[in-house]
């Protein structure tokens, strides 16, 4: 009676009343989460700990209730003598506990648990207020170094109530060089940059953005924007007190943009002509020319092949070639990306003759299809949600299986003729939630669900390729930006989530809008990025530039990819690759899949195309690569090849000219006076003949092993 009066009195304030009976879902679970009891390192791990298993970060209140109250013959809670319950004795260290002391006896937590036990261990029920969202305030703030603000997290429930959960939420700063946060949720700005404040509470999260200028905001000197991208980025620099590097030289720019758009080095005659050209718009014209080259088609077919996992090891050889040719055509025709995605998603028929049905040969279950589709087309790593609530994002198992359900009707029937199969849609097939075994309806992330009718993929395709759907555009523009700039606006490129905010969200949104509004045009997007001054900056950071270059104040040097490097070495030595079984003259960027043998490409991180992840391509350096470039017969044979570059220069042109030619062929620039003098001196030190040829070879070796060659800068 008294209890109801208290409830009635407090309810009007719109705040969850201090309930005399602790609510398992909304009072106990958050405390267990805050204290780390159900973390992945303790009882929330795969195997639990000490025989006690809780759901990871408390996403399953019902299961956790069973574990606490019913398991272990009910010894964890003692209704008759609550203080004897293991659930309070262990974490208060009244008896040994592997996790140490989590709270003191007679602390608020201890009393809360005791109160819950004493009042009869009320279970979670459907009528409990259910958490809907969490927000964190202030949502965005600019701070000076040393400045402090208090951050608050508020939980909102489905009955319209809310509660301040600052003390119980996990609030952290995602970039601790920029700011730090105290246990009382006070943020202190430490250094320049952008920091996301992430508040997590019971499976919901919210992000706030803090900006700390590196220096007092100031106009950006000497920077004329080329396009909208430059305007937005310059505004951010101004806000942050950053200054960009100077513009790249012409030779530098040409090498860079040739590699980024076509995967190959520019030719000497093109470099000379470009540098000599005095027209104001030469860089834009160079970009246009590159986008029309056949190498552009090959190189982006390769990139798409990585994304869609085109490989005979899984698709079969015939189907792989079909897919490869379809990609080639699509790149040549600059097909709108939304159309390409639609066609892939809805493919059916015979992969050996139907161009892209083989996409589904790489996914052997609805779950795998969901993962591949979400990563490739949405940049979303739904995979974590397969087994538990995604630890950083709101995706639940229901979302995961809801997406998988769109693919539940895919059936692959082997054909009567050898090696073929037909992809069709069967009239039956469901996805069931692994725990409840309930049928899960096809449902789009964060949205509607649909009946199992006809080809459920139609609904997914319609949603995904709808002009206003941000997912498709965001995924692709972020990737294009990342491939060109060396760092995506969101990193990793395939880890797009609310809790992983973009470095400059304004740029991302502008690119998305442009992409959506202009027919999902890949060439247009690449052109815009290549024409931006931000892209064309020098690759040497200013003295005070932030090293991680999150704000693009200089062009981040990046190692040439495996195929780019092999192309570059082949053209630098004039010793092209030959691939047995493939037409003469096929070059590395034209290879259809990673099953074409190439130790070089494997050594330099070519992806196997078996896992749908950008990380499959490994551009990290290592000792094996250094050894390969330094010592392999493979490279040496190219350097010393009979019809190769050194062979065609030696004794046929003056030494100076040979040196200039070698520099153009490798570093895409002429040598400086000092470099020429040094190289010529080394050659002349040797007696004429073979010995001098060897020095030229050594010079080529040196250029191929220098960082200026190995990096795109």
């Amino acid at each position: 009676m008294l209890r109801n009066c208290v409830t009635a009195f407090c309810l009007g304030a719109g705040v969850l009343p201090a309930q005399p009976v602790p609510n398992f879902r909304n009072d106990i679970q958050p405390v267990l989460t805050k204290l780390g009891c159900n973390s992945g390192a303790c009882h929330g791990s795969q195997y639990g700990k000490g025989g006690f298993k809780l759901s990871l970060l408390g996403f399953d209140a019902e299961a956790d209730y069973e574990a606490i109250v019913k398991d272990l013959k009910g010894r964890r809670v003692d209704l008759e003598s609550p203080a004897d319950s293991l659930i309070v004795r262990k974490p208060s260290l009244a008896i040994p506990h592997g996790g140490g002391r989590r709270f003191a006896s007679n602390s608020a937590t201890y009393n809360l648990l005791l109160s819950w036990i004493s009042s009869g261990v009320a279970p979670p029920v459907a009528a409990d207020p259910i958490l809907v969202s969490v927000d964190v305030s202030p949502v965005s703030q600019t701070l000076a170094v040393g400045q402090r603000i208090a951050v608050r997290a508020t939980a909102r429930f489905n009955n319209g109530t809310s509660r301040d959960v600052t003390a119980l939420a996990r609030i952290e700063i995602l970039n601790d060089s920029v700011a730090e946060i105290s246990t009382e949720a006070v943020v202190t700005a430490k250094g320049g940059g952008r920091a996301a404040v992430l508040a997590r509470y019971m499976g919901r999260s919210a992000v706030a953005n803090l900006l700390v200028p590196f220096a007092p905001p100031a106009p950006v000197s000497d920077f004329q924007p080329n396009n909208y991208i430059d305007e937005i980025v310059a505004a951010k620099w101004k806000q942050l007190g950053l200054q960009p590097a100077r513009l790249s030289t012409d030779a530098q720019f040409l090498r860079r943009v040739s590699l980024d758009l076509t995967g190959v080095l520019p030719k000497e005659e093109d470099i000379r002509a470009f540098v000599a050209d005095a027209s104001a718009d030469k860089r834009a014209r160079a970009v246009d020319k590159l986008l029309e080259r056949p190498e552009y088609v090959y190189f982006w077919t390769l990139r798409w092949g990585d994304l869609l996992r085109v490989t005979r090891n899984g698709m079969g050889e015939k189907a792989m070639w079909n897919f490869h040719r379809w990609l080639n055509r699509s790149m040549r025709e600059n097909r709108p990306i939304d159309q390409m995605v639609r066609e892939i998603l809805l493919s059916r028929g015979q992969p050996n003759s139907q161009d892209v049905a083989a996409f589904y040969r790489m996914t052997r279950s609805p779950e795998e299809a969901a993962e591949a589709v979400s990563v490739a087309f949405m940049g979303l790593r739904l995979g974590c949600a397969k087994c538990h609530q995604h630890p950083f994002e709101k995706w639940s198992q229901a979302d995961y299986y809801g997406l998988a359900a769109f693919f539940a009707r895919i059936d692959s029937k082997p054909d009567s003729d050898y090696g073929g199969s037909t992809l069709r849609i069967k009239p039956t097939g469901f996805v069931r939630h692994p725990k409840t075994q309930q049928v899960v309806r096809p449902s789009i992330p964060d949205g509607d669900n649909f009946p199992y009718e006809g080809d459920p993929r139609q609904q997914l395709a319609a949603w995904l390729t709808a002009k206003r759907n941000p997912w498709l555009a965001r995924n692709f523009v972020n990737r294009y930006w990342g491939y060109m700039m060396g760092r995506g606006l969101i990193e990793p490129l395939d880890d797009i989530r609310e809790t992983n905010p973009a470095s400059i969200p304004e740029v991302l949104h502008a690119l998305e809008r442009d992409f959506q509004e202009h027919g999902f045009d890949q060439k247009r997007m690449l052109r815009a990025i290549a024409n931006s001054k931000v892209y064309q900056l020098d690759s040497t950071p200013e003295a005070r530039s932030p090293r991680d270059n999150v704000f693009y104040t200089y062009y981040t040097p990046k190692r040439l990819t495996a195929e780019q490097l092999l192309e570059a070495i082949s053209s630098a030595t004039n010793a092209p690759e030959k691939y047995p079984g493939l037409p003469q003259g096929i070059r590395p960027i034209q290879l259809p899949d990673p099953e074409v043998t190439s130790e070089f490409l494997d050594t330099f991180g070519r992806p196997r195309r078996l896992v749908p992840c950008e990380c499959s391509r490994n551009n990290e350096s290592n000792v094996t690569q250094a050894l390969h470039l330094m010592n392999s017969d493979f490279v040496q044979d190219k350097i010393a090849a009979q019809g190769g570059r050194v062979a065609s220069l030696f004794a046929l042109v003056p030494t100076e000219q040979a040196v200039v030619n070698l520099y153009y062929g490798t570093l895409s620039r002429p040598p400086s006076e000092g470099e020429t003098a040094a190289a010529v001196a080394l050659v002349r030190q040797r007696p004429e003949g073979e010995e001098r040829r060897k020095v030229l070879e050594d010079l080529l070796w040196t250029l191929l092993n220098s960082r200026e060659f190995l990096f795109n800068h």
């Binding site: 950071p541 090293r547 896992v611 350096s621 250094a626 330094m630």
Partner: protein, 445 residues
């Protein structure tokens, strides 16, 4: 003047001493580690090395170290059993040498896990973590990679080497057992191939290529130092560029390191010893592993494929697999003992899972992770001990069921690495070397 530097300026006198190993009774470890430093993170001053004999495919426990003579024929199979030097312990008849040497290694007969898929099981057993089932999951580092991270290069010697074959369409899967995953690719092993048995064996790319001698290598290096000026001497300190520099330094020191060179010169071994290991790829790779450990390599994995006997289990085991293993493993144990390396060298022999008790229709056995045998000993792990037992039909452990985590904890302790050590993943997420597991007390010396 060409300055061909040895990794750390070893004097000519020391070079001579290395050349006459055995003559003066000096072992490489004694030479190298006389001035051991504390640079190793978390190594607790230990310098124990590990040789892992990786039986890729999953060795059948019944047809090797845990036979079941009393089970029905369709389980016990074709092989007879023989007694070993340990009373009450029997092996199959095709492991006679190992049977005599049971005082030199211990057995865990009760290893058990539930991962029956190649690749995933490889990762589980070598990393101590269940791999995440999703495609875009976390790949945990192998023991060798963790050791590599904790040790680093010393005197040009790579800390972690793989001797075996990686090529071929499923070479990538073999890498699952070897690689560093999220620890970072720089901690992957140096792969030196499987040609240790070839005449004139040469490790690829560690010696200069055809037509280039060491002197010319030196000229090239000087030229590179002179001309590779881009972004040098500036304040820019771009990490990726510095990394490439570091790898080139390591590569040069590897190429010029007298220790590494010597280690690879397997043809220096007396013919009699080479024959004792067996003139097979695996036998000679085991011998090479011993040399590598002596040169300071901290973790050597020697790969032996072929154990995935879904068909013709008995003929393959009898003709191709067991005799090779028996000879090579026993020779290695004997050799390690004779050279006084037992206290500082842990030798492990295992695969990714066991095999089905019930023989299938193709006279083979399929995957059975519930029961598995690991052999290990030395380097602080006791020898001559048999831990655990399985039921009469080798279906599940009956005594002392042990997890992969327990095994990993025990190994890391022996190697002086704390399982609680935290490393940053390549996306800067803090990761623990191990998350759980109890050291196996019966094996701790």
């Amino acid at each position: 003047m060409i300055d061909l530097q040895y990794g750390d300026g070893i004097s000519r006198r020391e070079t001579l001493r290395i050349g006459s190993l055995g003559l003066f009774g000096l072992s490489l470890p004694q030479l190298l580690h006389a001035a051991d430093d504390n640079r190793q993170k978390g190594r607790q001053g230990k310098t124990t090395s590990c040789i892992l004999l990786w039986l890729s495919g999953g060795i059948s426990q019944i047809d090797s170290f845990d036979p079941k003579p009393n089970a029905p024929l369709e389980i016990r199979g074709e092989f007879k059993t023989i007694p070993t030097a340990t009373p009450g312990i029997h092996f199959v008849e095709h492991l006679p040498r190992l049977a005599r040497l049971t005082n030199r290694f211990s057995l865990i007969r009760s290893m058990t896990h539930n991962q029956g898929t190649h690749g995933l099981a490889d990762q589980l057993v070598t990393s101590g973590y269940a791999p995440t089932p999703s495609g875009v999951g976390v790949r945990y580092p192998s023991q060798g990679s963790v050791v590599s991270w904790a040790t680093g290069y010393r005197d040009g010697v790579p800390p972690y080497i793989y001797v075996g074959d990686i090529s071929g369409p499923d070479g990538f899967r073999k890498r699952d057992a070897l690689n560093a995953g999220v620890l970072g690719a720089q901690y992957n092993p140096l792969e030196i191939g499987d040609k240790a048995n070839d005449i004139g064996f040469r490790v690829k790319n560690v010696t200069p290529p055809n037509g280039v001698d060491l002197e010319r290598m030196g000229s090239r290096r000087s030229m590179l130092q002179m001309l590779d000026k881009w972004q040098r001497g500036t304040e820019s300190h771009l990490t990726k560029l510095e990394e490439v520099d570091a790898y080139y330094q390591k590569a040069f020191s590897l190429v010029t390191s007298p220790y590494v060179k010597k280690a690879f010169q397997i043809d220096e071994e007396p013919a009699k010893l080479r024959e004792a290991y067996g003139r097979t790829m695996f036998g000679q790779s085991c011998l090479l592993a011993r040399r590598l450990v002596e040169a300071g390599v901290r973790y050597v994995t020697v790969g032996m494929p072929g154990w995935d006997t879904h068909t013709n289990n008995f003929s393959d085991m009898k003709d191709k697999l067991l005799p090779v293993l028996d000879m090579a493993y026993s020779a290695l144990l004997q050799d390690v003992h004779d050279r006084g390396l037992m206290d500082s060298t842990l030798v492990i022999c295992m695969g990714e899972f066991g095999r089905t008790p019930k023989i299938n229709a193709e006279a083979g056995r399929d995957h059975w992770p519930a029961t598995q045998v690991f052999a290990l000993g030395g380097g602080g792990i006791k020898t001559g001990v048999v831990v655990g037992a399985t039921n009469e039909r080798s279906e599940y452990p009956t005594e002392r069921p042990l997890s992969v985590q327990d095994f990993s904890t025990t190994v890391y302790r022996a190697l002086g690495i704390s399982p609680d050590l935290v490393y940053p993943s390549n996306e800067n997420r803090p990761m623990k070397v191990l998350a759980g597991g109890e050291p196996i007390s019966e094996l701790i010396a």
